[in-house]
């Protein structure tokens, strides 16, 4: 029959060790004994035990010292201290040092049975809990991305499959949805993980700077090019090149990029030597590339070259069930980074986060929580420290559901305009309509900016 678990009995009296060992063996435990603290520590260093029964008073290394060492050597083992009446105070001290419990000798057989039985059950449950948590974590995480929403699980699944290939991946999603994190995760899961991950934000640079950034340049290629430099395509050799905000590149660069993707070779700016590239391309954008193609501002051939494996990251408002999980994930990060005893959000705070629309997506959630964590005075984050963006409903607006579709549209436009500080271009983009349409609607609904 399989033994239930192993117990180490530490006592300087041989008769105690022998009798207690036999008593526990009758229960089906595997029992080991040690005559003193020294021998106990040697055994603890060599073998794992579920439970330690340790006599408090022993010559040399006493029970408290064994307890202290055991907490380091085997933090999962439960320690029961055995003591005589005269040393109950010390046993209480032992409890404070992390002993599971103590027994005053001689104790009732029932007391020992119950304590050991309860401990064994607790340990079994704890082991089960750890296994379940691990399984759940695997299910909810893809590298640094956390989610339990079916939409995101489908994204993770697709990304895992994509990671195994060398094909170009196009990541679509609003700002703050985690496009770069997903790109990094795909890289980390791929066979190229040992190679470099090189990221470029295409919107941040002018056309000529971006060209030089991507392809490198030779000395004297342009004013200020005092030496030659490698471009991101060269640096990313054997690894992954992440082209963020690909929807913002100029027509000339679109053509250059198309050539590189086709021929897998390029020339540095001002150079004549053809350089081969094997970098894997992951592109991302928060813009609707298909619409850009339709309007003629993005090359169709490049679109199809990039759109080999498209992955769309849903906005946070479409996966609100992830908010508690993400909050826990970020709080755990801040707990370590800030060394603050942050535990959780209050119910009210979580309700508030769940009610919000998150135009800035996961990044906005992280920023809100970071601010809350910095300001938090205790382990629980309350609504006081959490400052959300503009309210989802204008002040004074009725909170009941509006009746007509027109009213819903009017309110939604009003809210979106406020969120973007009445920046028409950005609000129109967020609403998925063009500026003229938005102006017409503002006029029709007579929406006015607050004083």
């Amino acid at each position: 029959m399989k033994a239930k678990g192993s117990i180490l009995v530490v006592d300087d009296e041989e008769i105690v060790r022998d009798s207690l060992a036999r008593w526990l063996e009758e229960d089906g435990y595997q029992v080991d004994t040690a005559p003193d603290g020294q021998a106990a520590l040697a055994k603890l260093a060599a073998q794992a035990y579920a439970i330690l029964l340790v006599d408090l008073k022993m010559p040399g290394i006493d029970g408290l010292q064994v307890l202290a060492q055991a907490r380091t050597l085997q933090p999962d083992a439960a320690i029961i201290i055995m003591t005589a009446y005269a040393t109950v105070d010390t046993a209480v001290q032992a409890m404070k040092q992390g002993a599971y419990d103590y027994l005053v000798k001689p104790f009732e057989p029932e007391e020992l049975s119950l304590m050991v039985g309860k401990l064994t059950n607790t340990q079994a449950l704890r082991r089960e809990n750890v296994l379940l948590r691990k399984a759940l974590k695997r299910q909810c995480e893809f590298k640094d991305l956390v989610s339990k929403s079916p939409k995101m699980e489908a994204v993770f699944e697709l990304a895992r499959t994509a990671a195994k290939s060398n094909s170009t991946v196009l990541i679509l999603g609003g700002s703050g949805t985690g496009k770069e994190l997903l790109a990094r995760a795909i890289h980390a899961e791929s066979l190229r993980r040992e190679g470099p991950f090189v990221g470029v934000s295409c919107a941040a640079l002018t056309e000529s700077l971006l060209e030089s950034e991507l392809f490198g340049h030779e000395k004297g290629a342009f004013t200020g090019a005092v030496g030659s430099a490698r471009g991101k395509f060269e640096i990313a050799a054997g690894g992954t090149l992440f082209l963020d905000e690909i929807g913002d590149i100029s027509p000339k660069l679109q053509l250059d990029l198309l050539r590189v993707l086709d021929a897998r070779e390029f020339r540095r700016v001002g150079g004549s030597q053809v350089i081969k590239t094997d970098a894997r391309i992951i592109a991302a954008t928060n813009r609707d590339l298909k619409k850009l193609v339709d309007s003629g501002s993005f090359r169709e051939d490049l679109y199809y070259r990039l759109n080999v494996i498209p992955v769309t990251l849903p906005p946070l408002r479409e996966r609100k069930e992830d908010i508690p999980l993400l909050a826990e994930h970020f709080l755990a990060q801040f707990r370590t980074e800030m060394r603050k005893p942050l535990e959780s959000l209050s119910g009210e705070a979580l309700e508030m986060l769940m009610a919000y629309d998150w135009p800035g997506n996961v990044r906005e959630l992280r920023n809100v929580l970071e601010r809350g964590a910095v300001l938090a005075r205790g382990p629980i984050l309350t609504p006081l420290g959490l400052e959300l963006g503009p309210p989802t409903l204008p002040p004074g607006a009725p909170t009941d559901t509006p009746d007509s579709l027109r009213e819903v549209e009017r309110r939604h436009i009003e809210v979106t305009l406020k969120q973007h500080n009445w920046n028409i271009t950005r609000a129109a983009k967020a609403l998925g309509i063009d500026r003229v349409t938005l102006y017409n609607k503002i006029k029709r609904y007579q929406i006015r900016e607050d004083e």
């Binding site: 105690v16 009798s19 036999r22 008593w23 009758e26 229960d27 000798k105 001689p106 104790f107 009732e108």
Partner: protein, 187 residues
């Protein structure tokens, strides 16, 4: 469930041996284990088993003494005593056995009392003694405690626990006992 040798029920109490009681227990033990079983009174007793401070005897020391006086041809010896037994860290024990070993000891002292300390009837004492004998001998055959509280191999921490269980093994323990004895007969 044959096995070599016999089971010896050894009376080692301070009072004279109760022949009738032990004979009835012997018959049941023999039937249960299907091994020839006999009763004998012991000569001598362990000198160091009494703890004068507690007025109880150490079951472990008695067990050690039994092991030094094992008669030849005997597979299992169960010492039966009327003194109260204990081990140093526990207030009392009903008995003690070597799991998968040749010896065990059991005491009638607490079996003779009801839960509130009054004398128990002769029939109740006999039933309890039989259960504890089967229990300790079960250990010597390699069985450990059973979670089924009605099985004779369940742990008894009080006479109430003893009264709750049957004078027999549950199906699992019976199967395990058969497997263990077959393993021994045919290693």
């Amino acid at each position: 469930m044959a096995g070599e040798g016999t089971i010896l029920l050894e009376w080692m109490g301070e009072a004279p041996m109760e022949g009738d009681l032990l004979e009835r227990v012997r018959q049941q033990v023999e039937t249960t284990f299907a091994i020839p079983t006999r009763v004998a009174a012991v000569n001598g007793s362990p000198a160091d088993s009494l703890d004068p401070r507690r007025g109880q005897h150490s079951s472990t020391r008695i067990l050690r003494w039994i092991l030094t006086t094992l008669p030849p041809g005997v597979a299992k010896v169960l010492g039966i005593t009327d003194v109260d037994l204990c081990i140093p860290v526990l207030t009392f024990v009903f008995g003690e056995a070597q799991v998968d070993g040749p010896a065990a000891v059991v005491s009638t002292a607490r079996l003779r009392l009801t839960y509130d300390g009054r004398p128990a009837s002769a029939r109740l004492v006999e039933a309890r003694l039989l259960k504890e004998c089967l229990h300790e001998l079960g250990h010597t055959f390699g069985l450990v405690h059973c979670p089924d509280v009605t099985c004779v191999m369940s742990r008894s921490n009080s006479v109430l626990d003893v009264d709750q269980k049957r004078a027999g093994f549950c199906r699992d323990c019976r199967q395990r006992l058969r497997a263990l004895t077959e393993e021994r007969d045919d290693p």
